[in-house]
Symmetry: C2
Subunit: 450 residues, 2 copies
């Protein structure tokens, strides 16, 4: 159950929902770091000039300006108009150029931040959302091997999330472009733009468009569509492409690259990868491998993790920085998990133990118990008032705190402690210096509902 | 050494600097959760109307608007003009009202997010910065005890950060207001606005202002200044205030409250707290306890953690939500730590081990080794090409990776593994299923330079 959002397209989570999101962010971070990726963050704003370098996205960009307009005019004159970033790739490219002298290449980074797009909100598309990106960027060149590695890293990361089965769909732009050239279609971007519509408008309409808009013959259109129909969960696609009988060096190179990605993914993560020769995304950007990811049974949600190889992420006068990377749409995933109850937190709050008060004067002694427990990593809070025990227990129960701690002082001044599991009702003697809850109750866990 | 920032007031960190920031954020989060605070995030934007409720801060606020103006006009008409939040308190108040039916009160939350202010940048004041807030909010009422608890939580959190000594300065608005009333000064906010200038303009100028602007007699001004001069690291301030001979019920109440905060902090965290009766912050907001925190030796940096009690964080028609909370200026702290080298990361990257390649065909076998190491929490990466070992070691050295792994296949097909500590040069036989680095090399640590 998602919390009420008072502003469409700007999702907010209740505390127990946020625990699911935190678990996902923690898992991604841990996985990326295990693979040697460094964390960076970039500022939320870029100059409009920087953001619109690739053109035609100005409708989605949120500009920012100080409400006090007199100061604003001077600032704009000095720095240029500023706007919120709409992805993490453009800012990363700028960061690499800004800091190239301080970075070691190939530079491996992950970046988990919010981005903003002024789009019409709908399910799976928010105006403020979190992306989790990994990229490796080289100085001048970057071995192809990273195309394989990044697929494996993302498969590792996605496998650890509380998600249904997913499929990483991979294609290669060299393969497609070489193939089109081999059949005499030289405007590869135009062909791919039409192929990209396959799922939406169907094969016949795409064939007609290829003839009408790209100037293809019926045979050329048919060949392009035959290529796009190839799908395989192993390297058998290589023979299927060869069987189409097209000769081209770029095709050959792309085929070898895609073969390597698929072979290694099949070997290391069987069932997670598909060679899908209809994938046509981000043409102006990508120059080789391209990736998309769908959740099986949730295909209409769109791709949850996409990316590819770009020969020039950034360039200055003399240098280019090629890279390969993928981006997870974290908010899209969290929204789906929460709206369909695919996973949930084992309890609603971090607190494992409520330390109760026997009387109003026992607050400081209760803090001593809490400090002892916290020193051993047990999250706890102290009751704010010495209400009847039943009321203190109900408070814990309502908040989802599993244990309540009781301390009492005997007539001879000795202190005894007991702790109650309020789910089972079991109450046992306990020492604040040694007692620990069962492992599954120590910290909040996020459990897959399936 | 901070990275070059291409936009003034929007700091960005190099990867090794970001490790220091991450360590601080992790430490704060862990501490807040150990004390039973739930994480929430609010959207980055609020309506301008919401942000300007308290008035007079419009110069600092960044409005946002879609660059495509035709769509924008319709959106503004529908939702009102949007702007980036300038703190986390106003959005939190709105969140509490929006979600009151789904929250359990007293609601304990922490919130760590970026905020934006269009201020003139200078050291310690950025235009984009991270705040870490904790607040407890009640439904209708909130026991005073939380004023004590929140001070203790923040002292615990700040004590764990790689910082110089700090002092939490505490005052109480009831105490000040009651005292002023007791000497016949009824416009407490006006008096406090003058007292707030003490450090800047000095005692004589404040006395003159009190007479001139607030209508105080010389005796009243003197009394107010005597109160503001009281400072104590224990509860001795109570007698000092009483010695001034002013009688007022509100004064008495404030004195008792401040006494309780100081007594408990002295008991549980000696040396961390000061009763400072000159603290006058945020008057329109706070209604009881107020907190500020200075780093000893860095007083000019300003307060690094501030807050207080507010009787009405938010209110709807029939309900009010009183609260108490504090906010840490994380970016201000990180900037100071980095610019003065107060702490640094034990290495520049998360990677502990570089798995080297013997030849180009060994990449997949090297991935097997890496997978084995990662399954036991050891961060590693695999060389991208089988350069000479010397070159692979230099790559690790340059990036700050402490260990390099070597695998070789004997003539009889048996694989042997060795791992080299490239700092000492020591190289030993190792099994990927059992070898671990020394504890201090397992993960990046952040070490205090002092």
């Amino acid at each position: 159950m998602a919390s009420k959002t008072s502003l469409s397209g700007f999702p907010e989570w209740l505390p127990q929902e946020r625990l699911v999101e935190l678990h996902m962010l923690d898992t991604l971070r841990e996985t990326f770091e295990l693979h040697g990726f460094s964390s960076i963050e970039t500022r939320a704003v870029e100059t409009v000039e920087q953001l619109l370098r690739k053109g035609e996205i100005d409708k989605e960009v949120y500009g920012i300006s100080r409400l006090a307009e007199d100061e604003e005019a001077a600032a704009v004159a000095k720095e240029g108009k500023l706007a919120l970033h709409f992805d993490l790739t453009v800012p990363f490219a700028r960061y690499v150029v800004d800091n190239a002298g301080h970075l070691n290449f190939p530079f491996r980074r992950y970046q988990i931040q919010k981005v903003w797009r002024g789009e019409r909100p709908q399910e799976g598309r928010a105006r403020e959302f979190t992306q989790a990106d990994i990229d490796v960027v080289g100085d001048g060149s970057l071995p192809f091997r990273y195309d394989v590695e990044l697929a494996l890293v993302m498969i590792d990361a996605l496998s650890k999330l509380p998600l249904p089965e997913f499929k990483l769909r991979v294609n290669n732009r060299k393969l497609a472009e070489g193939f089109y050239r081999g059949v005499g279609l030289t405007d590869a971007p135009a062909v791919l733009r039409e192929i990209d519509k396959l799922e939406k408008i169907g094969r016949d309409a795409v064939a007609a468009n290829l003839v009408e808009h790209v100037g293809a013959t019926a045979e050329q259109a048919d060949a392009a569509l035959q290529l796009a129909s190839i799908r395989a969960e192993d390297t058998s696609f290589v023979d299927q492409v060869r069987a189409l009988g097209v000769q081209d060096d770029l095709l050959k190179e792309g085929l070898a690259e895609l073969g390597e990605v698929i072979a290694e993914c099949v070997r290391r993560a069987p069932g997670r990868v598909v060679a899908d020769l209809s994938i046509a995304r981000g043409l102006d950007y990508y120059t080789g491998t391209v990736y998309e990811t769908v959740l099986v049974g949730h295909e209409k949600l769109g791709s949850i993790c996409s990316g590819g190889r770009y020969e020039s992420l950034a360039s200055t006068g003399k240098k280019t920085y090629p890279g390969v990377g993928l981006s997870i749409g974290v908010t899209r995933l969290v929204s789906r998990i929460l709206s369909q109850g695919l996973a949930e937190a084992s309890r609603a709050v971090p607190t494992a133990v409520l330390v109760s008060l026997t009387d109003e004067d026992s607050w400081s002694a209760a803090q001593d118990v809490a400090t002892e427990l916290r020193s051993r990593g047990i999250a706890c809070e102290v009751s704010a008032s010495a209400a009847k025990f039943g009321k203190q227990i109900r408070y814990a129960d309502k908040r989802g705190i599993p244990f309540v701690w009781f301390s009492s002082v005997n007539d001879d001044g000795a202190v005894t402690h007991e702790v109650k599991d309020i789910r089972s009702g079991e109450q046992v003697a306990a020492d604040p210096r040694t007692w620990t809850p069962p492992t599954e109750d120590l910290a909040v866990r996020v459990v897959n509902a399936q």
